[in-house]
Symmetry: C2
Subunit: 328 residues, 2 copies
């Protein structure tokens, strides 16, 4: 099986390719080749199959034709300008998040017409397709009224993916990831950064800042679960999803207080004491507009799974990032 990963240098892309290298197969099919694409050169792990690294802008005419020249059976499309940047730079967000995706879909469609090519395409969408106000739990049939350009672009991509699948040009699935915690690496300035910071930093013996109240509730899954969503979608028969090709992935609805309590149980009071309360009204206001819970019955019935407690999320981080060790 030949695989193309677009957005291979990002956190989820990197971890997905690591998993491919470890497993060597997906759904019983041996992996023969991976193309790792990003705008910067991805650094692939050692793998039992050849990995081509391509660094290019995929949102220019002809770029996607090159990317699919080897006719990969599976394409995992993770590339995106993130929410904050897409909001600040309108042109760039639409160019990458909408036009780039459309270039990819069109390249596939033309290869479909020419040769009957029809790859499986897994697309990483986002819960940003939803816009407040929300019901307490967002139903599976809730409408997309995004309040960011990023969410708008993802919602449009979802519609295109469903139409191109319905037409038979490709076999697609759009997966709306929960907020990923614990994100490895350094603290970042994203408004959602603190959800990871208050676990990752204390677990490494460092201080972290909590800018919101402990009552704040949000929607989470681990990087391991995110890779699991991709692996599951890649292995399954996507026709089982039916024509509604975009799905909110399972996740954990939890408060910051529950998050901290789980950290206490896993790592003890000394670690929790490294969290410093420093209320930030600006961040609190942004986060108040985010969804807190989802009805994911459809994704679960299709076999997608995520963590059921914050302790599981924390233990996944300790195993995958800290070699099983807590403390700085």
């Amino acid at each position: 099986m030949r695989i193309l990963v677009i957005g291979a240098a990002g956190m989820v892309g990197r971890k997905f390719i690591e998993r491919l290298a470890r497993d060597g197969h997906i759904g019983g099919k041996s992996i023969s080749h991976v193309t790792a694409h990003d705008v910067v050169a991805a650094v692939p792990p050692k793998a039992p199959f050849p990995v081509d690294v391509i660094a290019s802008d995929f949102a220019v005419p002809g770029a996607c034709e090159t990317l699919i020249a080897g006719r990969p059976e599976l394409i995992v499309h993770l590339a995106a300008i993130v929410s904050g940047e897409a909001e600040q730079d309108f042109d760039k967000g639409y160019r990458i998040n909408l036009d780039g995706t459309r270039f990819l879909l069109e390249a596939i469609r033309h290869a479909h017409h020419a040769e009957g090519y029809r790859p499986k395409l897994i697309f990483s969408s986002s819960i940003a397709v939803f816009g407040a106000p929300f019901p307490e739990t967002i139903p599976g049939e809730f409408f997309s009224t995004p309040l960011t350009s990023y969410g708008t672009q993802k919602a449009i991509d979802e519609l295109l993916l469903a139409d191109y699948s319905r037409r038979g040009f490709l076999d697609g699935a759009g997966l709306r990831f929960p907020t990923i915690v614990v994100r490895p690496g350094a603290p970042n300035k994203a408004a959602s950064g603190f959800f990871s910071n208050i676990l990752r930093e204390p677990l490494a013996g460092k201080e972290a800042v909590l800018p919101v109240d402990e009552s704040v509730r949000h929607w989470f899954a681990s990087p391991r679960a995110a890779v699991g969503f991709l692996m599951h979608a890649a292995a399954m028969d996507l026709s089982a999803i039916g024509p509604r090709r975009n799905l909110s992935m399972p996740g954990l609805s939890a408060t910051v207080g529950e998050e901290i309590e789980a950290l206490r149980r896993v790592a003890g009071e000394k670690t929790v004491k490294l969290i410093r309360r420093e209320p930030d009204a600006f961040i609190a206001k942004i986060v108040a507009g985010w969804a807190t819970n989802f009805d994911t019955a459809r994704a679960e019935a299709l076999g997608f799974t995520a963590e059921k407690s914050f302790e599981e999320i924390i233990r996944a981080h300790i195993e995958d990032e800290l070699g099983g060790n807590i403390g700085g």
Copy 2:
């Protein structure tokens, strides 16, 4: 007030401009100029203001810049490749229904950045943004999972309209029209044509074919109501809609049997006898996938109104198209 109508040669566009010519103003503002655009030359009515007719393809670079050169305060965008054609010709549907709309939005955005231009934009969307299976009544927050490329394109346009409005580039509203009955003119081959044919033809003393069962339920408004939606949106303060800029318009949920019963009450048994039952399984199957009823509380609270009975719809047709006279 300067007004641009895109899609001015279509049925709703023509009737909208006739209404403008009759009223001479919208929401208390005198109309100073109308540009009537379509791919073919529209034939405007006599009007108390100058009407420019432009025939061009609006989905090519530069065309929309020309259309908005006079900086119309109100733009009514009705242009579309219809459902059947967009399904048969994938490229044409996306080019007109998606790219054309995007060219228009981009032309406005660039004029916004250059000069602070910020027109009101009324867009005709469609209930085709929804895809079966449906609940019996489609709630106001129901998701868009279209089952046609036309519906996909309209749903994407809705998302763009909301994002461009949110950004302040324009002040937009997307109106999802019910199926329009009674359509004037000759019977056409659209799957929905019979809903109009079985009224219009008998009222003109001619036979009409009914291809489905009388129990079939659907969602209707008159051409007069459709023009009324546009007039109301053009006159109102669109900020009252809030960030969810796309609305299902009010309509009448009725069965074919109720439609025929209303015809009997208005025009008598002799007229109803001109309807010939000729079941067509193909059309019956298409129509079975259509929505039957909508919760339009939000649009109604904003002051949009439509007919409450099929008798009203039939009487509107007799007044507007037949000069008050029934019979061939």
